[in-house]
């Protein structure tokens, strides 16, 4: 049975209230085509759990799709120092934020991927991340066990039983309903190949109940199976396949294209207020019927200037700095 779908069909599989995670790292290889469609379909009460966030998360938050955000970082890197929409929604009190550290979030995702309820770590001892007064899901009454996706405790501090090395921090597994991943190549059956840095994609994909893979290109399985050591994920872990070239824009994609910095800076500058966000979304999300129309609106020349050199795996000709 074919796993192929369109972007709107794939987005329709995500329910209001779902716990969601994503491929990528900060402003790199984020599944933007599907993120735009989630906004267009006006998803509500999403619970984002992310090893780290970025423009995609800030966009969903600005659009009012997100009720809970659990992560360690949000921003637009060089192109906007804050997650401007998260900053505004948190000040308004219209979003719940649960802070973990980067490695703690990664271990939470790894625990989910490995099928264990928690993993231990030394990371981030001594900080307010462990302050029970700042356990925001507990304060909101969400750690009562009624939602099987939300653990009863933010952390446990537990004595080492094996080498008597002291107290470790146990972080609870993350088990998202859906992982949405943008990758360079996927086979017709679902074998996934990621070029360059893998970030935390393997953990995010394996932790989720359902996996939607959007790829720059769908290729014959036979092609990927000539070099199986280069593949990341076997087909049976992938539920849905979507082919969408340029589907990570404006984030960057190793071997395919650069980050569209001016686009990201424009998003950041225009969306510091809710009115600004709404106007921006009217132009770039609701003002276009689908991702093809979005790419058409961006235009060939703009995209062509972002295209990666096939030897370097990035664009080596566009002017980036002042020299």
């Amino acid at each position: 049975m074919s796993k192929r779908m369109s972007i709107p069909e794939a987005a329709s599989l995500i329910n209001d209230g779902d716990m969601i995670t994503f491929s990528g790292f900060t402003i790199w290889r984020r599944p933007m085509a599907l993120v735009y469609e989630l906004i267009r379909q006006r998803k509500q009460n999403l619970h984002l759990v992310e090893v780290n966030s970025g423009t995609h998360g800030d966009m969903l938050i600005g659009a009012g799709c997100v009720k809970v955000w659990e992560s360690c970082w949000i921003g637009q890197e060089l192109f906007g120092k804050l997650g401007g929409n998260l900053d505004r929604k948190l000040r308004e009190g219209s979003i719940l934020v649960e802070d973990y550290s980067h490695y703690q979030m990664l271990l939470r995702m790894m625990a989910g991927a490995q099928g264990v309820p928690y993993l231990p770590t030394w990371a981030s001892r001594g900080t307010d991340i462990l302050n029970p007064d700042y356990d925001m899901l507990a304060k909101a009454g969400l750690r009562d066990g009624s939602n099987p996706k939300i653990p009863r405790h933010k952390f446990a501090i537990v004595e080492d039983q094996f080498y008597e090395e002291g107290t470790l921090i146990h972080v609870p597994a993350v088990r998202p309903n859906v992982c949405i991943a943008h990758v360079q190549q996927v086979g017709e059956d679902g074998t996934v190949r990621v070029w360059g840095q893998k970030f935390a994609d393997e953990e995010a994909i394996k932790a989720a109940d359902k996996v939607i893979v959007i790829a720059e290109e769908v290729v014959p399985e036979e092609y990927l199976r000539r070099e199986p050591e280069r593949n990341l994920i076997p087909p049976y872990l992938v539920d849905v396949i979507v082919e969408q070239p340029w589907g990570a824009h404006p984030t960057g994609n190793f071997g395919c294209h650069e980050v569209d910095g001016p686009f990201m800076r424009d998003f950041y500058n225009k969306t510091r207020t809710q009115e600004g966000f709404d106007a921006w979304a009217d132009e770039w999300v609701f003002g276009v019927p689908d991702y093809e129309a979005y790419l058409e609106k961006l235009g060939f020349n703009r995209l062509q200037k972002l295209r990666a050199n096939s030897a370097y795996k990035y664009n080596d000709s566009a002017k980036r700095g002042t020299r």
Partner: protein, 268 residues
């Protein structure tokens, strides 16, 4: 051999920061670096005082030989000629294993014990500003052997106590109780070291090993001890000032502007 030092006016403050941070690297060390000035520092160190240092980027590239300066640790440029391009689990695991000697970090606020805030200004639940968040700052700062912070020198950023303790200094909260104890006590057998320098646009600070308190080490050319004191809101120990921060040499400036950041990304 006499060094060919640049004079004030012949370099910018970020040049001095990058150079001072580069000089913290010892040859052969494994260095965790983030986007911006930290990248300039490790890349300059590899071309000057530490040709055999290894650079690890948080997104999962190890010992790259970038020919174009990355604009982010997730950049494809980080992977060019790298020994390994893997992912977060690899590099954070190595960090926890104890393989990272030095890391560069930043922050919005710092206190007299080197505790850093990158999370919120104001009350945590009802903040005045929400910053990007911890990222890997507290992971790196609790598990690397030495960390160097690069910060802006302002009274409101150098505080008696930070609004939120994102990243641990030399006197921290011990959980589950939250009592303030020394870093050594909080970390127990897994204590490896901690913040060793804070480099700002005015000065270099270090920490007393026994009290954990920050003290002024050197003042950058063109600034005075009084300037620094006026831009710190706690009672700063200035009894151990060694003198002026060593300025950049013309060779270091040439490397920064023509080799490390030839495109003018972080040094316009």
């Amino acid at each position: 051999m006499d060094k060919n030092y640049a004079k004030p006016g012949e370099y910018k403050v970020n040049d001095l920061l990058a150079v001072a941070a580069a000089r913290e690297v010892r040859d052969g060390e494994v260095v965790f670096a983030g986007t911006g000035l930290p990248m300039l520092a490790i890349l300059l160190a590899q071309k000057t005082c530490a040709p055999h240092a290894y650079c690890v980027y948080e997104a999962g590239t190890i010992d790259g030989r970038s020919v174009h300066l990355p604009a982010s640790v997730g950049d494809a440029r980080c992977a060019y000629q790298a020994a390994v391009a893997s992912g977060l689990f690899d590099v954070f695991g190595q960090l926890q294993r104890g393989k990272v000697d030095l890391a560069y970090l930043g922050g919005a606020e710092i206190d007299k014990y080197g505790n850093v805030n990158t999370t919120v200004i104001g009350d945590y639940a009802h903040p005045q500003v929400r910053f990007p968040g911890s990222g890997g700052n507290p992971d790196i700062n609790s598990m690397a052997r030495r960390t160097v912070f690069m910060m802006v020198q302002e009274k409101r950023r150098f505080r008696e106590q930070v609004d939120y303790l994102t990243s641990p200094g030399w006197r921290v909260k011990k959980w589950p109780g939250g009592e303030w104890v020394s870093r050594q006590e909080a970390f127990g057998k897994m204590f490896r070291g901690g913040p060793s320098a804070v480099i700002t646009n005015m000065a270099v600070f270090r920490f007393d090993e026994s009290t954990g308190l920050m003290y002024l080490d050197t003042v950058h050319p063109g600034h005075t001890v009084e300037d620094v004191r006026n831009n710190v809101s706690f009672d700063l120990d200035v009894s151990r000032v060694k003198g002026e921060t060593e300025p950049p040499t013309h060779e270091e400036l040439h490397l920064l502007y023509h080799v490390v950041d030839a495109e003018g990304i972080f040094l316009p």
